[in-house]
Amino acid sequence: MRAADRTGAAVLLALAVAYTATAAGRYTYWTVTGPGSGFFPFWLGLVLAALSILLLASAVRRPDPGPAWLPTGHGAARFVVVVVVTALFIALLPLLGMALGTAVFLGVLLRMLEGHSWRTTAAVAVGAAVANWAVFVLWLRVPFPVGMLGF
């Protein structure tokens, strides 16, 4: 946690400087009538800079490294799998369409990650995809992405 706070504070400080610099350089701080578009962002960046210096100072001075915050081993693997599979699903949405995509996505997670039986997997995946489609497309009229197969 201490290392994460140091890195976090440094990143935030850089962001704050860039934010204020952009406000000062590209937007108007003050117009004839009053504060311009750069006024509020300029100060926000400065406040964030002050806060991240505070955080950095406290993290540097803290004697103990504190508990680890990132999961390790099995937990980390599960986290990565869920994020990657979800990202793939989103990227493939235009190709697969929402209905088929949902079923495949659920199938992959339930069977490969959680190790459910094929029967449970199929029932939940198909059931949820149909229910999802019924609520959003039939009832709420949201135009879901349609895949290559036409649904």
Binding site: R61, L70, T86
Partner: protein, 504 residues
């Protein structure tokens, strides 16, 4: 007189079949969301917001408010039977609730919690009804300086009270404000911080951010561990659930105190049901003639916090509706919803949309009646829902996050944004930052900036205008106190830590 006409209008809105149905769906989903660990009222409201877009705003807010109330009831079930809070406002209920369950008194614990919740929820709505119009009338006189001071107060108190680390809380808040600057500035016409990306011209959409930070973030935190909780079994016949006369005698004042305390805490901007439940428990323990029984299955230890969190969820609606400042993380998300429906919360709401406000208030009465019946007669049904393994629930919640984020603008871009903020929310939670403060700042940011700019235009003394008018001066001072108190505590903490380090 006026009150009764308004209330009659409210009930005529609430008793339409569609709105009754929405309240019913809200209480059932709310109880489930409250009961299931890993998903709480904030994510529940964020996930259901997209469904409400096709509806009339009144029906939408009725469903969301019923869900919020329901989650306060449902959280108890998990606390008592699994010793894991279903949502954060029921953390403290675990202490005595689980002990009661171990002693075979799970039934009375759940029954007393439901009855206490009903009384407190109803008292909360009565106070909400009495107080809101007065507060709204008072707030009508607010000009830009008062509005900005109010925003400042809302932001600083929320930030000061959420999370353990004040500095990280304020960092989260400032990040939220910085995000709210992105996009088209209406006053100057400048495009700010868009990075040349067309999709960013409208700024960060509130919904994908909220669904990501709360819904997806919670799922990712839960995804790390696979596992299943042990559920204590108990009997839930009506006779097993209704508390005995002795229980009732012990708990009645706890319920009354919990209701009043909970409502007051709920109204304060920033302090929501979670803090109310902790305070109510502490107060009860201090006042009790038998403090040694707390922690070993004292029924007051269940009744007080469960009453307080319900009263607080009603109280949190007061500043949201009358001032446009949410009193809790959940109402912060609701406020975002209100703005998306095109309803501007604040003092004018009571004049411009009486059917909305009074329909909501009447529905809350109805929702509480539905909830007390559900939570006394149908406990076994909710216990069965708890047996759904998280390994099935988790992928389903992700699907819901994705469809919810998509249905806002029908753009895959929003879904990607949702996932990014899911990872951000996960990291924020792990590192003690405050997603609630960020969300609130994102919602309030544009109004805060506009009111500050307007205040500075009419001011002849710069920022000092915030101290020149009496109401603005009081609000600004309170906001500064809200910053100063945790700051002083942090400095003192750092000094003791350094002294301790020097000694060792």
């Amino acid at each position: 007189m006026d009150l009764f006409t308004n209330l009659a209008l409210g009930f005529s809105v609430a008793f339409t079949p569609f709105n009754l149905l929405m309240a019913f769906i809200g209480v059932i989903l709310g109880t489930l969301i409250g009961a299931l660990p890993g998903i709480g009222p904030v994510s529940g409201v964020a996930l259901l917001l997209p469904i409400t877009f096709g509806m009339h705003p009144t029906s939408g807010i009725i469903m969301l408010a019923a869900l919020y109330a329901g989650s306060m009831y449902g959280g108890t079930i998990t606390s008592v039977l699994i010793n894991t809070p279903g949502e954060s406002a029921s953390v403290v209920t675990c202490i005595d609730g689980y002990q009661m369950a171990l002693q075979g008194r799970a039934g009375p614990a759940l029954g007393m919690a439901a009855i206490g919740s009903f009384i407190a929820g109803t008292v909360g709505v009565v106070f909400l009804m009495g107080m809101s119009p007065l507060l709204a009338r008072w707030a009508l006189s607010f000009g830009p300086p008062e509005t900005f001071a109010l925003m400042l107060l809302g932001l600083t108190t929320v930030t000061g009270l959420t999370g353990d680390n004040a500095v990280k809380g304020y960092i989260s808040m400032v990040l939220g404000l910085m995000m709210s600057m992105v996009g088209f500035d209406i006053i100057s016409g400048d495009q700010r911080y868009t990075g040349g990306i067309t999709e960013m011209l409208d700024g960060f959409d509130f919904l994908p951010v909220a669904i990501g930070l709360f819904g997806m973030g919670e799922v990712l935190a839960g995804a790390e561990s696979a596992g299943r909780a042990q559920i204590l079994s108990a009997r839930y016949g009506l006779r097993d659930v209704l508390p005995t006369a002795a229980d009732w005698m012990r708990a009645r004042w706890a319920i009354v105190r919990g209701s009043v305390l909970g409502f007051v805490i709920g109204v304060l901007p920033g302090a929501g049901p979670t803090i109310a439940s902790f305070l109510a428990y502490t107060v009860e323990k201090k006042l009790s003639a038998r403090p040694e029984e707390f922690g070993h299955g004292a029924i007051e230890g269940v009744a007080a916090p469960e009453s307080a969190n319900n009263a607080a969820s009603a109280g949190a609606m007061v500043p949201m509706l009358t001032l446009g400042i949410p009193g809790s993380a959940t109402t912060a998300v609701m406020l975002g919803g209100l703005m998306m429906w095109g309803i501007r919360p604040g003092p004018l709401l009571f004049e411009k949309n009486p059917d909305f406000v009074w329909g909501l208030i009447a529905s809350l009465y109805i929702a509480n009646v539905m909830l007390v019946i559900l939570n006394i007669a149908f406990i076994p049904a909710f216990v069965r829902a708890l047996r759904i393994p998280y390994s099935i629930l988790m992928p389903l919640i992700i699907v819901f996050c994705i469809t919810g984020a998509y249905s806002l603008n029908n753009k895959v871009w929003d879904v990607g944004q949702m996932l990014v903020f899911g990872v951000v929310g996960y990291a924020m939670k792990k590192l003690d930052y405050s997603p609630a403060a960020l969300t609130l700042a994102l919602v309030l940011g544009p109004l805060a900036e506009r009111s500050l700019r307007q205040a500075l235009i009419i001011s002849d003394a710069g920022v000092l205008i915030l101290f020149q008018r009496p109401i603005a001066a009081v609000l600004t001072t309170l906001a500064l106190v809200a910053v100063a108190v945790p700051a002083a505590r942090a400095v003192r903490g750092a000094m003791t830590a350094r002294n301790a380090a020097a000694v060792s």
